[in-house]
């Protein structure tokens, strides 16, 4: 390949990176600012010595058959609906209606972004030696 030819995979990657950057700048940062302005913390970043315990009670202690059917998505449209519902109910951990309603503004743009990023065969199959794989 000569230096002026473009590797299709690289071009695809660059396009995806641009889409994520755009989502970050235009959608995510304003929502993050809105949460900060309202002093809405989504989780604790430092210990609170006044607490007697850091264990939290689980909202759902047992698992019902219907619970096995939630957790995935069929399509970007389905994703948008599920994210809206999840966040309007306060998210997985029930962080509160106010934070949830702010976050729900991101659902549509995340669904759009998912269309751009979709890949049936995973491209990046390396295990990072630097951090715990958690995303």
């Amino acid at each position: 390949m000569s230096s002026i030819e473009v590797n299709p995979q690289t071009a695809d990657t660059n396009s995806k990176v641009k889409k994520i950057r755009s989502f970050y700048d235009r959608k995510l940062l304003p929502v993050a600012k809105s949460l900060r302005d309202r002093r809405l913390l989504l989780f604790d970043l430092t210990p609170d010595p006044s607490r007697s315990t850091y264990y939290v009670q689980r909202a759902r202690k047992t698992v019902m058959p219907a619970d096995f059917e939630e957790g995935g998505c069929q399509s970007p449209e389905d994703l948008e609906v599920k994210l809206q519902a999840l966040w309007k109910n306060g998210g997985v951990r029930g962080k509160g209606a106010e934070a949830g309603s702010v976050m729900a503004k991101l659902a549509a743009s995340i669904a759009v972004l998912s269309k751009e990023l979709y890949a049936v065969e995973e491209q990046d199959a390396e295990v990072s030696p630097l951090t715990y794989v958690m995303f």
Partner: protein, 616 residues
């Protein structure tokens, strides 16, 4: 009616598949064993194919296929994390969104793509990550009722959960959520000490006894607040995993006065002391949790799972403190075990299948020999196709005597027999064996066979009835998940701590000192990571140790995984033969065939095979 469920874990680390039928575990395997890529996170198509083959079924005939995690909930965490960290953390967010929006969210499509079916359910089912861990710990355990404790890096949100299992049902009542994680705390020290996250934690644990726990107070003062009930909260200002691509940050470096150790560089006193310190902190927290769980649930037995449950030193402390009457730990406690847990949970709590207990009071994990096996005729066909010289010894006891005699002469032996182990430890189905009485065995096996760090100890496989003869332990430890001291009367005091200081922290000074009459498996602090071998679990392996005892008076041998550093444990006879020929092993046993190194044709390789595997 009998239900067949396939469980899948994938896309994080150690992808795996497991198949459960009529609530019985039929098969379970990690993808890395087939793909030969260590900790392979890709969709486990080879492991699934094996499970289906073992069960004699097809994807369309499965009653359900279940994934061990809820990707939508993970996306919730990813987005919340980004929102909390913005405007920093863009790089991490880019990587996370590509991964979760590009691949993980569409797991059902991945299953459909690879298997061409979603089974009779017609849709993919999902379990919560820590419920899958909890199920993997409770259902195969020998207890009708037990308290459950799961600890790992992170699932969707949870990093620690507490609950109770009773008959067919599991309830998780409490949890600690991301970003507060005992697994991530330990991983931070793993990375800082120059080992790989996700795999080097075991090395850090092995390094700990060389050090002094001089940083314990600093860790408690700055990094973590721990309550009397064992619950904890990290000070995230010191960690990088929230907004960067490494697990620690500059604050962490400043706290410990320097940059992380470069991988493969010399290990200094500082790393030894850090390892000792974080190990002490981990053990103290786990013990507090265990006491709290005992008190709050009232249960007399405890089951454990999640990556932190592979810390067998901490597990040994729980046992020693006798907080519970019974302790059972899932041998595949990392993410691979999630495949098994999700299948079991679906079997019992989705389909309502009754739990089967082992009538003899032992567990139903089947020794964790749940992977692929090769028949003697398949082995012979392989050897004859390549014209590799071998001796066939069909009689089990005669073969065991031959192997034992070679071990007693100081030979190192590769051993492939029966179904492969599920989980990270080799338990005598894909093992390298040695003589524990010889002082030189540890260095020889580390440097000439495993090609790994010389400080790393080896584990003993001991006859189940002889455990208490050699170790301060009176329970079975079939999965090498409990550490116990070598019996006091067997210990030889060496003054190793002083020797280490006098030797300028050169660990080789102390590694080669005999610390007991079974020096090859006695760590510097006289501890050993015990595997008890019961004839009901693995007759052939038991007979080898039995024959070694008949010959030498010692019912214990050295057992390490059959691989070289960075290589997944061997799976097939071909993998085993290649590993045997590349290293300085003397003998190879493939089912009922025995091969001697000096009789084999020279192996021709065009490239340096050591570059084939990335060092772990």
């Amino acid at each position: 009616m009998s239900k067949t469920v396939l469980g899948i874990s994938a896309f994080y680390h150690d992808s795996a598949a497991a198949l459960v039928r009529d609530s019985e575990i039929i098969a379970a395997a990690q993808e890395e064993r087939f793909s030969r890529k260590k900790h392979d996170p890709r969709f486990p198509v080879n492991a699934i194919n094996y499970c289906l083959e073992e069960a004699g079924t097809e994807p369309a005939d499965l009653d359900a296929i279940v994934f061990y995690d809820k990707p939508l909930w993970t996306l919730d965490r990813v987005v919340e994390n980004c929102l909390m960290m913005a405007p920093s953390g863009y790089e991490q967010m880019e990587k996370a969104l590509r991964s979760i929006l590009g691949v993980k969210l569409w797991t059902e499509k991945q299953v459909q793509h690879h298997l061409k079916s979603l089974g009779k359910a017609g849709k993919l089912l999902y379990t919560e990550h820590h419920l899958a861990h909890a199920a993997s710990a409770f259902y195969p355990s020998p207890y009708r009722e037990a308290a459950i404790l799961t600890l790992d890096g992170v699932g969707e949100w949870a990093t620690t959960t507490i609950g109770v299992g009773k008959d067919d049902r599991i309830e998780l009542t409490h949890e600690i959520d991301y970003p507060h994680s005992l697994g991530l705390l330990y991983s931070a020290f793993t990375y800082y000490c120059g080992f790989k996250v996700n795999s080097g934690e075991y090395k850090l644990m092995g390094l700990a006894p060389y050090g002094d726990p001089k940083y314990v107070k600093l860790i408690y003062d700055k990094l973590i607040d721990v309550k009397p009930d064992g619950s904890y909260c990290l000070n995230t200002e010191y960690f990088g995993y929230l907004d960067r691509l490494v697990v620690t940050n500059e604050q962490f470096n400043r706290l410990f006065c320097g940059m992380p150790r470069q991988p493969e560089s010399r290990i200094s006193r500082k790393e030894m002391d850090l390892a000792a310190s974080i190990q002490v902190v981990l053990e103290e927290i786990v013990l507090k949790m265990a006491r709290h769980v005992r008190k709050s649930t009232g249960e007399k037995n405890l089951v454990l799972a999640g990556g932190v449950a592979l810390n067998c030193v901490a597990n040994g402390k729980i046992l020693k403190e006798k907080i519970f009457e019974g302790l059972w730990i899932q041998p595949a406690s990392g993410d691979a075990g999630g495949a098994l847990g999700s299948a079991l949970l679906t079997s019992h709590m989705y389909f309502g299948e009754k739990r089967r207990m082992n009538p003899n009071g032992r567990d139903t994990q089947k020794g964790s020999y749940l992977g692929i096996g090769y028949s003697p005729s398949e082995v012979r066909a392989f050897l004859e196709r390549h014209s590799y010289p071998y001796e066939r010894i069909p009689d089990l006891k005669e073969r065991a005597r031959k192997i034992a005699a070679a071990l007693a002469e100081g030979k190192v032996i590769g051993y492939l027999a029966g179904r492969m182990e599920f989980g990270p430890r080799a338990l005598g189905a894909r093992s390298i064996m040695g003589d524990p009485r010889r002082q030189e065995t540890q260095a020889q096996m580390n440097l000439k066979i495993k090609y790994r760090e010389s400080f790393r100890p080896f584990a003993p496989s001991v006859l189940a009835e002889d455990v208490a003869t050699y170790f301060e332990m009176d329970v079975e430890s079939p999965y090498m998940l409990l550490v116990a001291p070598v019996r006091n009367e067997k210990q030889i005091q060496t003054g190793w701590k002083e020797a280490l200081r006098d030797g300028g922290d050169d660990m080789l000074h102390v590694i080669n000192q005999a610390r007991s009459d079974i020096p090859a498996i006695t760590h510097v602090d006289f501890s050993a990571r015990v595997q008890s071998v019961h004839p009901e679990d693995k007759r052939d392996y038991y007979e080898v140790i039995r024959a070694f005892k008949d010959l030498t008076g010692y019912g214990v041998i050295v057992n390490t995984s059959f691989n070289v550093r960075g290589e997944p444990i061997v799976c097939s006879p071909a993998n085993a033969y290649k590993c045997f020929m590349r290293t300085e092993m003397d003998m190879l046993v493939l089912e009922d065939c025995v091969l001697w190194k000096d009789k084999q044709p020279k192996m021709k390789e065009n490239a340096d095979w050591r570059k084939e595997y990335e060092l772990d």
